[in-house]
Symmetry: C2
Subunit: 668 residues, 2 copies
């Protein structure tokens, strides 16, 4: 029989957290010390002074929280969880090298449902240990992310990523949209998982895709999620294309009529902030990622001043490289001060709010989580207050405790974590995930990825293929090159009765050769071809050519047969290629070229008359080449080239190595 | 009898660290995995592949370092260790409020030798746990810092701080210099402590002090240490005063002829960097502190490009709020990218170098520490590699391991620490400091400081006294204020035969009243007095007045006796006072005042004719007051004021509250 006290009924709770400093993050920012929290089922029953709560509630399980902080679980508003498996794969690189050289190739090769499930488990283990109880994810095979989160016992918004290009889980965007629709239907009204559509960004989607994803979100009654204005480049391109900044364009397209969680928002202006506030756009601010990729400084103080709900996010592990929300709190608070020049900017209490209740508001989950209040879900963490690095602590103002959390506390101080009323981390032991097993599997996956990259790094060609600009093809050419003593002989030679000029162009060629430690890799040549137009103008053409390592065969008169000249339009910058291929050495050679296509004895040859301008070098050179497709054809062409050389005035003793670069490369 | 192998003598070592990934930070940046380190006495005997070292050395003690990193101990190049006891005392404040409102008052009150010893022990415990083996400190009672570091088993440069003003350990700078000379002599040639002079900064010293400290450093053969160009303000003032930027001035004074470790260097230009490089100035870069106090972004990439030795520092705990060098590595690497706009800036390997060998170079200790090389001192840390937040890890390039350390690893991963060959942290247990005891004493100190501030926060007067602008004094005044219906009567009244005008000024007065929650605190008035000069110019005078909470006595005709009008010149900005005093409410009142000093019946009175301009209010007011010093005098003056009010045309029913602010304050 239940005992009753004279003035008060003792109610039943499942768990009592007793004696800690309770930071509620409620609208009054109430701090209760010593305080207590009563939990029943998934919900918080009551929060208040320890004596009061303990008198009112009896629970089977109590946790002694003396010398500890009790606070709402942290909300990670932007991440790509499966990328935990790519932690530290490629750092300190340009965004395009990082993305096209590493992340996209590995995603094409490795990102399967199993990868996503495993990566999410690893990420959830890390996040729970660090006091994160809720995340907003954007990745592929998001069904697996959701299942792994359920297993780990985390709350999450799971965003299925959609782009106009093929992705690891869809060959076309129609498939992607269908996956997304099924995914949303499957997880509708789940207790802890919210399935949402996550179009990657306006530039990686089409207006049709975006209309469709907004429609999916609206039908399911869930948020939509997207990267917006992460880099200055993407905004510039968008403005050039549409004459509208991204948020103006989104509004114009009607896509802000339904709630949106926008990640990054680094390059937004005042006008856009007004639109964002008006349409209740939630923002995921990712200070580490924005610095690490040099994306810029998000105008956080401005967004907060507009009343926009700004949460904090870690972004994916491949650009952070961890999922530590304490570091994001600290960095957000520090960075805002540096950027505004005011030590008053983004005070500690605001950083804690961004990591909890404001993050929940950005996710449209603030009615359920983000603060410790009766009736909300019990997403609660308990963290040590008395590690040496956090001693002592003051109580001179109501702000000290927030300072402590932001500027001194660390992820490793988290002791216990509850999600939806369930104890998932106890005394530093994770109860839902077999961490050792997950780590072992992560190591195994990393070893596979390692091997893939080590093999690839060995092969310049594979790297070239990986960035997708090259059609893999082999060509054979017969060719020779010689010094001309007398350019008049060459001019007269072209008038030889058996030579017919079919085409003639003049061009300046600026060649950059990448040389590699292993000569069997060949050399990569980046060529800027400035073709001089009849009117005097210049038509630039950029090509990238992988020159085979050696001659396949050598004929009389130093005519050689070469192979493996992989050529592709060079649609990226020289800088990109330099950083991506990391050559051992670089050589630059410029020349002026008169280029003739001729027919000689019924066969086609290219004849080049070259003058090297850099490094400066006296004299003229002749080069003759022809494509070939059989051994017999090659032999015949080699003999015709020998004849042509004589006609054009190059002597056998004046023959040169195949590439101009070998004239200069002292390493050879 | 020692066994010998056929081809190799087995040598004796004291300790072998076996099987870890050894990051040497030597000039080749050699990484050995699995590697081993042999230690004998204070020195590193050998570093190399595990198999080789294990075959060559036999040791009584071996540490299994598999799945761990073995690397040089971190070097914290700038800190104020005893301030660990002030951790989180006052954050998110302007530099001047933080310094003058909190740090200087607490230093005046609490900073004793015992405080410095205790604070250093606490700081060393934190640093050793986080893998820091060497520090460069600047504080007071530095003798105690040195003793505490010896007890904790840390290596340190201990800088005795010298300023032109009184400090906690010296009433005059001559005393300070004498303390410093004795201190240097006492610790000369110590094994792990280097005692150095640390003039605070050029603006807190005089040229004579700086010459003297350079001389002390030179005689002792040690480095000198100083804050340089931390804030834009200090540089601007220095340039205005000397027409030289700080490093130019230091060179001009000959102070760079002897090695200098300069902390911060945030606001330096290209020319100064050349001077710094030329004179071998070492730099302590403090990314967290520079952001937290909004000092600015140090041009780190520029300094590194000049070949300047740039180390990392945490600064003191009161501006960080911890001593975590892993956070500084991470932030230095991230911030440089954000500031330069390039993700290639300050790559991870460079951040690790700054925290180790480059820091050692900045301290002129790189011949002893900073890398793992045979013959150097054994300052070594062993850290876990396989915590969940750091799994997996790749080996695609030689940079992955540095990425891991900078972007993923955490202070709490440090397992073992050696300083000078001595094991001081083992398996996370600190062997040299009784941490629980130190924490307990730190809490006790914090409680005392807490009480001091809580008492002070209760008293506006104490806060006023603390910032040192006020001479504490009480005054009594008899005064009255009334509405004038007719300004002609006032003008005629001044011509009364018994009234003699001795002085007359016109002025505009802009008053800002700070009101506090507790009315017994009184009100603080910040007054800008624009005194109109005979020629029409304006002479501004700024005064701060604490108005007593209530009248001491009231006489006929609403004449009152007031007390405690503490007045001081207001030499700080209104913004400063607002943030420092944090009033509950602020009221602004402007008026034009004709001020008369008169003699009436042989006594002095001040008579003011006021017209309130803001908030706009009709009519004129008269105020009459006189200082008093006895009850009898007060009674007599009260009766004369009543007479004067009648003469000047204010009726008893028109009398007003003492302060204009009460006319407007609806809260009253």
């Amino acid at each position: 029989m239940a005992e009753t006290l004279p003035h008060q009924t003792v109610e039943r709770a499942d768990i009592l957290l007793k004696g800690g400093t309770v930071i509620t993050m409620d609208s009054q920012r109430r701090i209760v010390s010593p305080g207590a929290v009563a939990i029943r089922g998934r919900d918080i029953l009551a929060v208040g002074p320890a004596a009061e709560i303990e008198a009112r509630y009896a629970a089977e399980q109590t946790l002694d929280c003396r010398d500890h902080i009790v606070m709402p679980g942290l909300v990670n508003t932007h991440t790509h969880l499966p990328m935990s498996l790519l932690r530290g794969l490629a750092d300190d690189l340009r965004l395009d090298v990082w993305l096209h050289g590493y992340i996209l190739p590995v995603e094409r090769e490795f990102v399967t449902p199993e990868f996503c499930f495993l990566g999410t488990l690893l990420a959830c283990a890390e996040m729970l240990r660090g006091g994160v109880t809720c995340f907003a994810d954007m990745y592929y095979h998001e069904e697996e992310v959701a299942w792994a989160a359920v297993q780990a016992g985390m709350r999450g918004l799971c965003g299925e990523t959609i782009t106009k290009l093929p992705t690891p889980d869809a060959k076309t965007y129609e498939q992607s949209l269908q996956y997304c629709a099924d995914f949303l239907a499957h997880w509708a009204a789940h207790e802890t998982i919210v399935a949402v559509p996550a179009p990657h960004s306006i530039y990686m989607c089409t207006p049709e895709i975006l209309r469709e994803t907004t429609q999916l979100a609206r039908q399911a009654g869930v948020l939509q999620m997207m990267h917006v204005s992460e880099t200055a480049d993407e905004v510039e391109h968008w403005v050039a294309q549409t004459a509208m900044r991204p948020f103006r364009w989104l509004e114009d397209q009607g896509l802000l009529e339904w709630p949106l969680l926008a990640a990054h928002c680094v390059h937004i202006n005042e006008e856009e902030m007004v639109l964002m506030a008006r349409h209740g756009v939630g923002v995921a601010h990712n200070p580490t990622s924005n610095l690490k990729l040099a994306s810029g400084f998000a105008p956080v103080a401005g967004m907060l001043a507009q009343g926009i709900a700004v949460g904090l996010g870690t972004d994916g592990c491949a650009s952070n490289n961890d999922l530590d929300m304490w570091e994001e709190m600290r960095l957000a608070a520090l960075l805002a001060k540096g950027v505004t020049g005011s030590p008053l900017a983004l005070p500690a209490a605001q950083a804690v709010a961004m990591a909890t209740i404001e993050g929940a508001r950005a996710l449209h989950l603030d009615h359920l989580i983000g603060s410790l209040e009766a009736g909300k879900r019990a997403d609660i963490i308990v963290a040590r207050l008395d590690d040496t690095y956090a001693v002592p602590r003051f109580e001179t103002t109501g702000q000290n405790i927030y300072s402590h959390l932001v500027y001194a506390a660390k992820a490793c101080a988290v002791r216990d974590v509850f999600v939806n009323g369930r104890l998932v981390l106890r005394d530093g032991h994770l109860l839902t995930v077999d961490e050792a097993e997950v780590r072992e599997q992560a190591w195994a996956m990393a070893r596979r990825i390692n091997r893939f990259f080590i093999e690839r790094e060995k092969s310049v060609l594979d790297k070239l293929v990986d960035i997708g600009t090259l059609e893999q093809q082999e060509t054979f050419e017969v060719q020779a090159k010689g010094l001309l003593h007398d350019v008049q002989t060459f001019a007269r030679g072209l008038e030889h009765p058996e030579i017919h000029i079919t085409q003639h162009t003049s061009r300046d060629q600026y060649d950059t050769y990448f040389l590699f430690a292993d000569p069997s890799q060949g050399r990569l040549r980046y060529r800027e071809d400035h073709i001089i137009q009849p009117g005097g103008g210049v038509q630039p053409v950029y090509t990238l050519t992988l020159l085979g390592p050696a001659a396949e065969a050598e004929y009389a008169h130093s005519v050689v047969l070469t192979r493996s000249r992989y050529t592709a339009p060079a649609d990226r910058s020289l800088r990109f290629y330099r950083e991506y291929f990391q050559p051992r050495a670089i050589r630059e050679i410029s020349k002026h070229r008169e280029r003739y296509h001729i027919r000689y004895k019924g066969l086609d040859f290219a004849v080049n008359l070259d003058r090297i301008t850099h490094p400066p070098r006296e004299g003229y050179y002749v080069e003759i080449k022809s494509r070939t497709w059989s051994q017999q054809d090659a032999v015949r062409k080699a003999s015709l080239i020998a004849e042509l050389l004589t006609i054009l005035g190059a002597q056998p003793e004046d023959m040169l190595p195949l590439d101009y670069v070998d004239l200069f490369d002292e390493a050879k």
